[in-house]
């Protein structure tokens, strides 16, 4: 690392903020853009599991709330891709790379949603896991990203309440409805535990070193468990991991080691719904190409 890069590193580690037009080391720019692009991809792909249920929402209120939630996610994708564009990569290139499998999106969006129970579990727990990660980005050294994270976190607050409302209504309902929730939870627990990624020592995590994130993977997972296991248990639901317990002294959660091979396989494009969903994106994009060219012909 040359002196200029070293100075930059010390600057961000001391809390310094970077704007779009500032000089930045190649490594910083590359890692940053890849990280932010993956986030944008995740918001865009995260829309797909949920939008199947927009069609099937069982009340007018749920219909509106779910549509609004998915709309927010599209809005977040818009905010995020604009940041990536201002870092030098056009939106179309991002979509090309997403569809071809060259760039990635978070594991949870590679799985199917089978029932209305999934809708509740996703809004309640998957979004909670995501919000923990997102809050750790509010102090990102790259200011344009930190600024959009503020809007994103604010909008996510209603998603969690919506999720909780759906779940509580189901848990207070019929036996079948309670079973919907437990069954969905059983399927989502594995991906949820993998969501924050495998543990990386702080000094070896480039995201922490460059102050892109302010929280390591393991800490994020512990925070998730702290916040949500009690919520799960108090409803009489069980977590499908017999080893899950909180250490009395350290207050740290112990659990069966997540399947990191599964995570790697899924994120590199081998999830149960990866191909279908990327196909849907490809189709949608191809079908609407004419619209974009009409609008471009100003």
């Amino acid at each position: 690392m040359d002196q200029r890069e070293q100075d930059f590193l010390e600057y961000v580690q001391g809390g310094g903020q970077v704007e779009a037009g500032d000089w930045m080391p190649d490594e910083y720019r590359t890692r940053l853009r890849k990280f932010i692009e993956m986030h944008g991809n995740s918001e865009l792909m995260g829309v797909l599991p949920e939008r199947e249920w927009i069609l099937r929402a069982p009340t007018l209120q749920r219909k509106l709330a779910l549509t609004a939630k998915v709309q927010d996610e599209v809005g977040h994708a818009q905010l995020i891709y604009r940041v990536v564009e201002d870092l030098g990569k056009p939106r179309d290139e991002c979509f090309d790379d997403l569809i071809s499998g060259k760039s990635k999106f978070h594991n949870v969006f590679h799985y199917p949603t089978k029932t209305w129970g999934d809708v509740g579990v996703i809004a309640w727990l998957v979004d909670a896991a995501a919000i923990i990660s997102q809050k750790a980005l509010l102090k990102c050294s790259y200011a344009p990203y930190a600024r959009i994270m503020k809007k994103i976190c604010w909008e996510e607050s209603f998603h969690i309440l919506h999720g909780r409302d759906v779940i509580l209504t189901l848990m207070n309902g019929t036996d079948d409805q309670r079973e919907l929730v437990q069954e969905a939870l059983n399927r989502w627990w594995g991906p949820l535990m993998q969501f924050h990624g495998n543990p990386i020592p702080a000094d070896q995590d480039p995201m922490l070193v460059w102050r892109i994130k302010s929280q390591g993977n393991d800490e994020a997972r512990q925070q998730f468990l702290d916040g949500y296991v009690p919520q799960i248990w108090e409803l009489g639901l069980t977590v499908p991991d017999r080893a899950l317990r909180q250490d009395e002294q350290t207050r740290r959660w112990q659990y069966t080691e997540p399947d990191w091979d599964e995570l790697k396989s899924v994120v590199t494009g081998h999830g149960p719904k990866t191909e279908d969903r990327l196909d849907l994106r490809r189709q949608a994009r191809e079908n609407s190409a004419w619209v974009r060219s009409v609008l471009l012909a100003a």
Binding site: P58, G75, G173, N287, V294
Partner: protein, 190 residues
């Protein structure tokens, strides 16, 4: 069925089914900014339906959700225009343009109604529809030379006020719309 409730259901069913169809673009619209904007339109339509159902529900002794979901397909009073599944953007926009024009006229008549509640609700809905119309006009302006848009307008125009028989598209939509609800006894909370 009292005349007022009947009229309200006609409009509510139009808005509900159109809103349901329009909401299908959320997440897959031609580009992100449009996706967000069009989703708001879809949500407003469902919101209008809800307000109209609530008004009718009081008169009929039921609830908005029951009116929206628990009737049989044949009992819906929506037009042939809104029932169709239109996964092509040019047809969706053509429908949007045609519907907004027809709906504007309908709302004018309702705003002049002797019934204060109906007139009041119509005025509220109309104020939101202003933005729907602007959006439709904006797209029409851009697509008015596009052959596929023009043929979509021609294809869909005759359906604007056709309310006689429902197409299979409505039954298909109803089936998906009500599948979760029908999985549990009537009155189950969701």
């Amino acid at each position: 069925m009292p005349a007022r409730a009947d009229l309200l259901l006609q409009i509510a069913d139009d808005e509900l089914i159109l809103g349901w169809r329009d909401s299908e673009w959320t997440g897959i619209a031609p580009f992100l900014e449009e996706d967000v904007a069009f989703s708001s339109i879809a949500q407003n339509e469902v919101g209008h339906a809800r307000a109209l159902y609530e008004l009718a529900a009081r008169e009929l002794g039921t609830t908005a959700d029951e009116l929206a979901f628990d009737r049989q397909p044949e009992e819906y009073r929506c037009s042939a225009l809104v029932e169709l599944r239109l996964p092509e953007w040019e047809r969706t926009i053509a429908r949007h343009v045609l519907y907004e024009q027809a709906d504007a006229e309908r709302l004018e008549r309702l705003k002049a109604s002797d019934d204060a509640e109906v007139a009041g609700l119509a005025a509220k809905i109309d104020r939101e529809e202003v933005y729907h119309r602007l959006h439709a006009q904006m797209w029409e302006e851009r697509l008015k030379e596009e052959p596929r848009f023009l043929s979509a307008l021609e294809e869909l125009r005759p359906l604007v006020d056709r309310r006689a028989a429902h197409s299979p598209a409505l039954a298909e939509l109803w089936d998906a719309m009500t599948s979760v609800r029908r999985s549990q006894p009537a009155g189950t909370r969701w």
